[in-house]
């Protein structure tokens, strides 16, 4: 019996912002489902092929903000062929036709064409926010369409996308009447921008809080921009190259000093380290610093900069900082919550000035609030990981990547099982884990036993037998995404608990031991899973032998059956 009138329920539901809460609420009873679905404005779809646009619109007709994710995570590392899928056009088209009042679109790993952007720009008069992360398929022409047509655009945030530069003047396409921008990030664009247009745009957008420039914006332009926008919270510099003895540089220093609200700093895509001191005055209030695209800054300069950043909560940096530099971070940045150390030397195959377990131990000892880590390192030891686990029991995300994928403990030559075991045992709230180094089935036993909150697990070159994968599937009750490459897990593990996969978003297995036969069996038993086999290169046989090993398999739960946009080389069994 429902004692509350629907309006009251709706009002109460307004306070529920998280998707999980809303999903839970909608399961209570039919009436709650109905109220909830009409009031939901923000929809999150973690796998664009789990549902389709029609179902989205049917269930949530008042949706205003949509988040979509496309390709599997390993697509980031070139493991998924180019035309695999993840097209956003059908979604935009369907929403446009249905008169959805779309205001915000956030896409990750999707293919976005210029046509999509044009349709988006012209179909939704209240469109306010476009965030594209790791997407591809569009050019600056598409951006021009957005700039020209979205009259109330507040946010245009492009993160690490592959964008073709058409040498147009997309920035100039923002009309003079556009004053609504709050966030503009075009750091990933490779081409020139009209700097004068940019300066005018910044000058008239008095609410601009976040601005990230690309490398084509020179330092003297930055100075003029900062003079117009001292209210910025988040700045990504473009090129930071100039003669430090010049007047332009001097003006820049003064302009920066006036930007007392900057809390987040990034960029330095091209840098003259002798210009770095210009940012020291704003370092004291920084909570977020991203220098991971600035290999031109040497360790000693990094250290000098970081010494000023006592309030840092998030730091993204290159391994050029070295263990010593991490020691300085540990003693300076007591508020640190998230650390990412990226490899600087990707082409020689080994870290040029890499970090080791020492740096990580120092950080764990000095930064008690650390809860999120991505660490590319030259080497690691169990002892270090055990110490880290003791020092930092609050990890939510722990991603360790040894540059040599199967390197053993650097001191004992043993597998790193015990180290990762300590991490999962100590960090009871761990939601995401990536393991690397020499690992046997034992580490997966630990993960299955202790990682009760684990939602995402990434495995590469690890394990000895099916047991490893079985430990994980049986133990991790909250597992949502499992991705495995180059590990000896096969059919027994794959087929042991087929029902499990409906409780998960997806499973990726490449260069493992599963066969066609097993994949077919799985697909037969579980009609609400799409089991995709991705064949690249080699001859595509009409019907391969069941005993043939599958090179790449991606399976995911879905309500809408096999997708119709799969390319030739993808078979849905």
């Amino acid at each position: 019996m429902n004692y509350f009138p629907e309006e009251v329920l709706e009002h109460v539901f307004d306070f529920l912002t998280s998707h999980r809460d809303r999903n839970a609420v909608s399961l209570v009873c039919k009436s709650w489902y109905s109220v909830e679905r009409f009031s939901r404005e923000k929809v999150f779809i973690g796998n664009c092929y789990a549902v389709n646009p029609e179902r989205l619109i049917a269930r949530f007709p008042r949706v205003r903000s949509l988040t979509l994710k496309g390709k599997p995570h390993f697509a980031d590392f070139n493991l998924v062929p180019h035309d695999w899928g993840g097209y956003v056009y059908p979604w935009i088209e369907a929403m446009a036709k249905s008169g959805i009042n779309l205001e915000e679109l956030r896409l990750k790993r999707m293919v976005v064409s210029d046509e999509s952007l044009e349709l988006l720009a012209k179909s939704f008069p209240n469109f306010k926010s476009l965030v594209l992360v790791s997407c591809e398929g569009f050019t600056t022409d598409g951006l021009a369409a957005i700039a020209s047509n979205c009259r109330f655009l507040r946010e245009l945030d492009l993160q690490e996308n592959e964008v073709d530069d058409r040498k147009g003047q997309w920035l100039s396409c923002f009309p003079d009447t556009c004053t609504s921008l709050v966030s503009l990030n075009f750091a990933c664009l490779k081409g020139e921008v009209n700097v004068a247009a940019l300066e005018r745009l910044v000058a008239r957008c008095r609410n601009l809080r976040s601005l990230r420039l690309n490398h084509a914006v020179p330092l003297d332009a930055l100075q003029k921009i900062l003079v117009q926008a001292p209210q910025l919270n988040d700045l990504g510099t473009g090129s930071f190259l100039h003669d430090p003895d010049s007047e332009a540089y001097c003006k820049l220093k003064n302009a920066i000093k006036k930007c007392k609200s900057i809390r987040s700093l990034s960029g330095f895509l091209d840098v003259n380290t002798r210009c770095l001191p210009a940012v020291y005055p704003i370092c004291t209030n920084l909570t977020s610093l991203n220098l991971s695209y600035a290999p031109g800054i040497y360790s000693s300069e990094l250290i000098k900069l970081i010494c000023h950043c006592k309030k840092l909560e998030r730091l993204w940096i290159l391994d050029t900082i070295g263990d010593k530099g991490l020691g300085v971070v540990a003693s300076t940045c007591k508020e640190l919550q998230e650390l990412r150390v990226f490899p600087s030397d990707l082409y020689d195959g080994v870290g040029n000035a890499a970090v080791t377990e020492e740096g990580l131990v120092a950080i764990s000892a000095g930064c008690p609030k650390l809860n999120s880590l991505l660490y590319f390192c030259q080497q690691m030891t169990n002892a270090a990981l055990i110490t880290v686990a003791k020092n930092c029991p609050n990890f939510i995300r722990f991603r360790l990547c040894t540059l040599d994928p199967t390197i053993p403990d650097a001191v004992t030559n043993q597998p790193l099982d015990e180290g990762f075991g300590a991490i999962v045992q100590s960090c009871k709230g761990l939601k995401r884990l990536s393991v690397s180094g020499l690992l046997t089935d034992q580490v997966f036993l630990y993960i299955g036993m202790y990682a009760e909150q684990l939602e995402m697990l990434s495995i590469a070159f690890a394990g000895d037998s099916d047991k490893g994968m079985l430990y994980v599937l049986n133990g991790c009750k909250k597992l949502k995404k499992l991705e495995i490459r180059d590990s000896p897990f096969g059919n027994v593990a794959l087929l042991a608990d087929v029902g499990k996969y409906e409780t998960m978003r997806s499973l990726w297995m490449s260069s493992c031991e599963v066969t066609y036969g097993a994949c077919k069996t799985l697909a037969e038993k579980m009609p609400r899973l799409n089991v995709e086999i991705i064949n690249e290169g080699e001859q595509i046989e009409a019907s391969p032998d069941d005993r043939h090993r599958v090179e790449k398999m991606y399976l995911y739960r879905t309500l809408v059956g096999p997708r119709r946009d799969a390319p030739e080389f993808v078979w849905t069994l």
Binding site: F77, L79, P295, G296, N352, C401, L403, I407
Partner: protein, 244 residues
């Protein structure tokens, strides 16, 4: 996995073959680490008596260090087998797992970085670096772009610090590294030796690389006592041997 690494290391030792003649501080057990630092001798590592000689040094991936040193573009150490490639492990598809976007950005920056090094710190801006001399009460600054050769720089430094004993490190100073006995005299004596800190923070002996490359990578100069510079000398020795 470990086997491949060991074989590679062995192979490297044979190819380089300089170990026997190499000068170093010769601490027991220091042998392996010193080997690994071919081409680039860390300043701290030679002067500091390796108080940290822990198992970490032994555990460190020796072949990696060698590879890194061999493959560095700036390293002019003539190696009979310059084209030795890193072992296959370095070429695993999609490893380390870094987004292509990031990889591309780093590749572009690396390319332009080395271009700059070759051109000698691109741009017309001056290249002022601090010059310190052990024992001198104050530092000086020189604009490296004012000079066209080591000779000129040497003369200028000599004049700058003439009030202090710079000894043999003037007109002939840098060129004398070609002569083994003179070098040993210089290093063993209380005479001074010019060194510099490069882009990576390593301390190098002045005179090894072409002038333009030096200007591009030099961050500061330090004129140190010959005895302290001992650990840096062997690179110059290798250069002697290869040229003769």
């Amino acid at each position: 996995m470990v086997d491949t690494m060991l074989n590679y290391e062995e192979g490297m030792c044979k190819k380089l073959g300089f170990e026997e003649t190499e000068l170093r501080l010769g601490l027991p057990g220091a042998g392996e680490k010193s080997n690994a630092n071919y081409g680039k001798r860390g300043f701290e590592e030679t002067v500091d008596l390796k108080l940290n000689l822990s198992t970490k040094d032994v555990g460190l991936d020796q072949s990696d260090l060698k590879e890194k040193n061999l493959n560095k573009e700036k390293n002019l150490l003539p190696c009979p087998n310059d084209s030795v490639k890193p072992p296959a492990k370095a070429q695993v598809v999609g490893w380390p797992p870094v987004r292509s976007f990031r990889k591309n950005v780093m590749a572009v920056q690396k390319a332009s970085d080395s271009e700059e090094t070759d051109k000698g710190a691109g741009g017309g801006a001056a290249a002022f670096v601090k010059v310190s001399m052990d024992g001198a009460p104050y530092l000086r600054k020189v604009d490296l772009k004012m000079y066209k050769s080591y000779q000129e720089l040497s003369d200028a430094l000599g004049k700058m610090f003439s009030s202090f004993t710079i000894g043999k490190c003037d007109s002939q100073g840098m060129m004398d590294f070609m002569n083994e006995s003179k070098l040993m005299d210089l290093l063993n004596g209380s005479d001074y030796v010019p060194t510099y800190e490069d882009k990576d923070g390593d301390w190098m002996l002045v005179g090894d690389v072409p002038w333009e490359m030096f200007v591009g990578s030099c961050k500061r100069l330090r004129i140190m006592k010959g005895t302290e510079a001992k650990g840096l000398a062997p690179r110059a020795m290798e250069k002697c041997k290869s040229r003769s």
